[in-house]
Amino acid sequence: MTQHRIVRPENIRRLWAAFIAVLALTVVAELAIERHPAAGFDSLFGFNAWFGFGACVLLVLAARLLGLILKRPDDFYGR
């Protein structure tokens, strides 16, 4: 099985670097635009960045917690 060039380790490192650069860019771009906070507390610098990140962490943790109780093997109801 040949390995596609995009999944070689050095390219994955480059993809991460590019991704982080884009992330930084979206935060810096906030300096260039006029913000219209919707709720007040979202006027903090980079609000949407940390809010999006935090919301996803919480959602994943909530899902893990629920999974502890409600996960079953996928043949639970039979085939």
Binding site: H4, H36, G40, N48, W50, F51, G52, R72
Partner: protein, 563 residues
Amino acid sequence: MAAELILPPAFALLLGALLLAVVPGRLRPAIVLGAPLIALALVWRADGIGGTAAYLDLTLVLVRADPLSRWFGTVFAIAAFAAGLFALHQKSKLELVASQAYAGAALGVVFAGDLVSALVFWEVMAIASTLVIWSAGTAARAAGLRYLLVHLLGGTVLMIGIAGHVAATGQAALDVLGPDAPFRWIILAGVLLNAGAPPLSAWLPDAYPRASYSGMVVLSAFTTKTAVYVLLRAFPGEPLLIWVGLFMVFYGIVYAILENDMRRILAYSIVNQVGFMIAGIGIGTELALNGAASHAFAHILYKALLLMSAGSVLAMTGRSKCSELGGLFQSMPVTTVCGIVGALSISAFPLTSGFVTKSMISDAAATQGMVLVWTLLAAGSAGVFLHAGIKFPWFVFFQKDSGLRPPDPPAPMRAAMILLSVLCIAIGVAPGLFYTFLPYGAAYVPYTGDHVVSQLQLLLFSGLAFFLLLGMLRRTETITLDTDWLYRRLGPALSGRIVPPVASAWRQAETAIAAASSRGLQLLETAYRSGPLSRPQASGTVALIAITALTAYLIIGYMAATG
């Protein structure tokens, strides 16, 4: 009396379904593709009221065409066309016939001007969509039956509500049911069941993924969005809907995060997306209602696209579990790119359709000063990217290499995906034309620097969270229990203990009733002649009691049959 004849757009597809059932196979493609186009033309020809009929003391209105019905009619016709194109090689004639009847009935609901006509088409949808599920073969039988029973229950609830409403008011118009409208809560419950709202939303992820590769594309478009349409018509600004919608948003995300089957992930995300629409209907301002209607439009297109992408993978590999997929981008470039376009659209990335529609709902919440609702909608938007926007393409097309090298699917399936991809991007890039047809009055400017930068931050940092938490998101071969456990496990288990004693009590009661019947009949006759039962409004109440008893009987019967 030269009233212009307005043909109900539904007829094009219902007639198409009849023709599909009888014509030889080589003529089928022409009908599968032609009937939706004729329906689209009829949608745009229709204006005002047409096709009325007297039934009992009611006026039935088969066509009530206004911007809202044309809005949903347009996207339903487009969806029927695209799904037909995708299913062109589908061997099951039953699925093609049922799909077209199903789409036709959905058009019937959105053009119905009264509750009774809407209910008739509603029930046709339930039956036709069950046939779409069943046409996938024996593996879909049990899930299809559960789906049918839940929808018959919902239809019965809706019928109780409508019968009660008509009996109490003498009116059957499908219009806003204000806070004082009798039976409004029962009607609301019946409609919400079809929208995938709690507590019975499990019917959707249980049944839809059992349909064929093309069947689930059809199913995703109509049932839940018809319910959204009726909610827009009858319950705009009902505050309860905000919280029902928000519940659905987070339910969909959390269950999709835990899910392993790619098509079940997308099924949960239907509930999630309909949640945004229902929250918008609950907010109820013109901007919010435009947001709900336009998000329904955009959602039908990108969800069909996502399910076509997943359906292509299923058709070419026979697999749908994320744990058995991965690395498919190397041999399925068209499916991958189209799947990514769908994923970006559902995530509301700038330049895609979701961006110009969903933001109306959260902006409406902000304008109304609903800070908590706005905050939860923003968190939900981040979660959409997490559970559908990245999770679906990542686990199916990238992650580890599964070693599978299936080619892209045949030309009609590729063409359907490309068509929908183009539409998703066109709406996102040039929303001006799209906005001119919005059913409500509010104007909206989606592309401001603030909006674009905020949304990019929200989504890209959600992406960062996804890749950092990848270890916690690794797929396991599991399902997550939902409320369907109540009728798949608890009900049958209990009915084994409850039904025998109830049945014997029932037999005893029957004997007693038979013994007392002659005397009882005499008493009833006397009571009817002189007593309160002879009042005319009692018939509605009696019908209500009878239907309620029948519903209870159905449920007990179902538990006895499955136990």
